[in-house]
C-alpha cells in the first residue's frame, strides 16, 4: 500500500501514507454504528474473517458524527481497517481508489405507512405526499415514475434528509408514506416504540427496488478483494449468511 499511487486520492498528510500495520493473520474490518445493519454487519465481518482463517479485529466507526463525505473513507482505510462493511453496489458511485466486494445480502426499499386501510401505495390518495429519503436508488425511480404521470395524478414527493426523517414525517402526518431502506425501519422499530405504528405495504404501482450490499476496500487491494469475494461466496453457499440474517430477523436475503 505505502507509496502506491491511486488515481485522485483524497488529501492526507504524509505520515498517514507510509508504513502500514503488518498483521498477516488478522482481518481488520470496520463496522459503522450509524448503519441500521450494525449488529448484523458485526457478525458478517467476523464470519468473513473466520472463512479466511484470519483473526477478526473489529473497529467501530462513526459513533459521534451523523454523516460523512465518502472521501473520508480514504483515511479510514489508511489508518484503521482493510474492509468496511455496508456499502451498496451502485455503478459509478465510487471514486477510482475505492471498490466494493461481492454482495453478502440484498435488501429492498420499502413503503411504510400508518393508515390501516392501505394495502399498497396505490391506495394512498393523491393529496398525500411521499416522504422519500433523498437521492436513494429507489427515490430516483420514484422521481422518474412520478414525472411520467400527468401532473394531476402525481403524489407530492418530499425529499427527506434520511430514513428517520422520512419515517417521522409519516408519524407527524407531513407525509402519508415513507420510501426508506428496509433495515432502517427494522432498526428504528427495535429502538423506539413510536415506529411500531408504521407498517410496510406493497410499493405498487412502483416496482420493488432493491440494492445489493457488500464491503468497501481500496481498489489496489486486489488479493484481499478476491479473497473476500471467495469468502462471501462460501458463506452464501453453505447457508451461513442466510442463517445469520434469519436469526436476527433482518430484512435481507443472501445474494446467490
Amino acid at each position: 500500500m505505502a507509496g502506491t499511487a491511486l488515481a485522485q486520492t483524497p488529501f492526507v498528510p504524509d505520515d498517514w501514507k507510509f508504513g502500514k500495520r503488518q498483521e498477516p493473520n488478522t482481518l481488520h474490518y470496520c463496522v459503522d454504528a450509524r448503519d441500521p445493519d450494525f449488529p448484523v454487519a458485526r457478525k458478517i465481518g467476523a464470519a468473513i474473517a473466520s472463512a479466511l482463517l484470519l483473526a477478526p479485529k473489529e473497529h467501530v466507526i462513526g459513533e459521534n458524527q451523523v454523516t460523512e463525505d465518502i472521501e473520508n473513507l480514504y483515511r479510514v482505510f489508511l489508518e484503521t481497517c482493510d474492509l468496511y462493511l455496508g456499502f451498496k453496489l451502485i455503478p459509478d458511485a465510487y471514486p477510482d481508489w475505492l471498490t466494493v466486494s461481492r454482495p453478502y445480502y440484498r435488501v429492498s426499499y420499502v413503503v411504510a405507512v400508518t393508515d390501516p386501510g392501505w394495502k399498497s401505495l396505490a391506495d394512498m390518495p393523491r393529496s398525500q405526499a411521499i416522504g422519500a429519503t433523498i437521492g436513494t436508488s429507489a427515490d430516483l425511480r420514484l422521481i422518474q415514475y412520478l414525472q411520467a404521470l400527468p401532473a394531476r395524478e402525481r403524489w407530492s414527493r418530499f425529499p427527506m434528509a434520511d430514513d428517520e426523517a422520512a419515517l417521522r414525517a409519516v408519524l407527524r402526518g407531513t407525509a402519508g408514506a415513507a420510501l426508506v431502506w428496509a433495515p432502517a425501519l427494522w432498526a428504528l422499530q427495535a429502538r423506539e416504540q413510536d415506529f411500531a405504528k408504521l407498517r410496510v405495504i406493497a410499493p405498487a404501482p412502483l416496482p420493488v427496488s432493491t440494492a445489493d450490499v457488500g464491503a468497501a476496500l481500496l481498489s489496489n487491494e486486489s488479493f484481499l478483494r478476491s479473497s473476500v469475494d471467495r469468502a462471501i461466496a462460501s458463506l452464501t453457499a453453505d447457508g451461513t449468511l442466510e442463517a445469520m440474517l434469519r436469526a436476527s430477523k433482518f430484512p435481507a436475503t443472501p445474494v446467490k
Binding site: Q65, T67, N72, D92, I134, G135, T136, D162
Partner: protein, 587 residues
Amino acid sequence: MLVKRFLKSTVLGLPLILLAGTFAQAQQPQAADPTRNITLVTDEMLRNPPASDWLMWRRTYNGWGYSPLDQINKNNVKDLQVAWSWSMTNGATETTPIVHDGVLYLFNYANKVQALNGATGELIWEYKRDLPARLVAGGGNLGTRNMAIYEDKLIVATSDAHLVALDTKTGKVVWDNTTDDWSKGWRHTSGPFVAGGMIVQGMQGCGNAQPGGCYITGHDPKTGAEKWRVHTIAHPGDPNENSWNGLPLESRFGATPWISGSYDPEQNVVFYGTGQPYPWIAEMRGTVPKKEGYENNALYSDSTLAIEPTTGKLKWYRQHLQDDTWDLDYVYERMLIDLSVNGEMRKTMVTSGKLGILEVIDRTNGQWLWHKEMVPQNVVTSIDPKSGAKTLNAAIVPKIGQPATTCPANPGARGWPATAYNPRTGTLYAPLNEFCASMTPQPLEPGQAYAGGGRAAFKFMAVPNSDGNFGRVDAIRLSDRATVWSHRQRAPSTSAVLPTGGGLVFAGDMARYFRAFDEETGKVLWQVRTNNAVNSFPITYSVNGKQYVAVATGGGSGFLRSVSQLATEIKYPESGSMLWVFALPEK
C-alpha cells in the same frame, strides 16, 4: 524577551528538555516583538485601514483586494526576492493572512493560528485548536479562508463550528462560542468580518442534508454571543416561503454562505453571497416539475443578501441564478464600486459566480445594471438587459439517467480565489478557468452514513475549440467593459489576485508559479516557482517602511483537486504548505 520566550515554551507544553534549545536560540539577535506596541483595531481603522496593514479578507470593506503600497513597482519588481518563509501545517491552505502593526496572523490547516513578526518571520505565539479526533480523522477541509481582527482580538471561525476570540498580543483565548453542532456536518471554512460593531459570520456544511439550510449570524464582539440570525433558505413566515415548490421546511437544503462578505458603512449594510440549493440536481430536491400555485426558484439560494449588521434585518436580496441544477454557486466576493452607468454615477455591487458572468447591480436596492460574460458558457442563453432575468438553457439540464454537458464545469469558470479591483485603473482583475463537464446525476447513498451532499458524477473536458489553455487572468475596465488584457496559460488559475499601487497585479497558479503582471498590459514582469500550488489569497503590507508581499502555497483544496484533472501533466506535490514572503533587497 528571554523570560517571555521561556514562559511561552512552558505554556505551549513543550518538554522541558527542549528549553535548552529555546534558550540557546534566544541568544541570537532577535527583532523586537511587534506585539508589544500593537494598537487596538478600531471601527475607524477598519473603515480606513492604514496602507501598511491588511486588516480583513479583502483588505477593505469594499472587497477590492487592492493595496495602495507602491514601493514594489513595475520598475523594481524584477529584483523581488524571498524575505522569509514559514512552513505551515500540511493541508488545504486557502488562507488570507491578517497584518496589523507589523504582526502577521496566519491560519494553518487543522486550525492552528500563529502570530509572526511580519518583518522577520519569527514566531510570536501559536494557538492550536484541540479539534475533535473524529473530525480530524475524517479529514476534509480543516482550513479557513479568512479571519477578523477587532480591538485587541483576533476572531477565528473553526472547523468544529466555533467562533473563537484570541488576544492579539498573546494568543490566549478571550472567548469561545459554539455556533452549531459539528457532528451534524456544520463547520466553518470561511471566517468572519466585523461590520458596524458586529461580528458577521456565515455557517457552512449545510449541504450535508441539514433540513432548513444555512444561515448568517451576527455576534457581539465582546462575548461572541449570537445577536441575530438570517436564514439563507426561506423559512415559514418569510415573504418568499412559497419559492420551494410546496416543499416543507424539512425538505429544503443548501444555500450555504461559504465565503465572507463586504460592508458598505454609508448604508450600514453587509453583502453576503449564497451557494446553490441541495442536492444539486433539481429533480432530486423536488423543485421540478413546478407545481401549480408555487414558485420554484428556491430562495435565497445563489443570491446576494443585503443585511443590516446591527439588527440582522434583510433589506433586499437579488437572486442571480434561479433553481440552480448545475452546482454553480453565486457565493464569491462582492465588490462595492461607484461606477458611471449610462452617464449617471451609481453605487454598484460587482460580483460573479461560478458561471463567470460579471454582474453589476445597484447596491442600494439590488437593481440590475449590466453584465459581461468572461468565459465561454452554455447555461444562460440570454439576460434581460433591464431586469437581469436569465433565460436558462433547458437542453443542458441534467436529469436522472440523462447526463448533460455544461460549460463551465461545477468548480466554476472562477472558484473561490477572488477577483480584485484597482481604483487607479478602474479595472477589475479576474482569475478564470475555461472548461466544461459532463454531469451525470448519481444516487446519494453508497453507504448509509456516507450520503448527502449534492452528488453527481463529473467528467471534465476542454471548452469546444479550445487552444489547450485552461487558466486565465483577465483585466476588465469597468468604464467601457472592455477586456484590456487576458493572460492565457495551460495551468489553471488557482489563486486570488492582488493589484497594488505599484502598478502590479500578483496572481498564482497550479503549476506553482507566483507572478507579477503589469497592470496595464498583462506582461509578466516577475515570477517565482514556489514549492507547491498557489491556492490562496496573496496580500501585501509594510513594516517600518518596507513593503512585503505574502502568499501561502499548498495543495489539498477541493477546488485545486478538481481543476488538476484538466492538465494532468502538470504536477504539484501532495504535501508541503508554506507562507512565502517577498521583498526588495536592502540597498
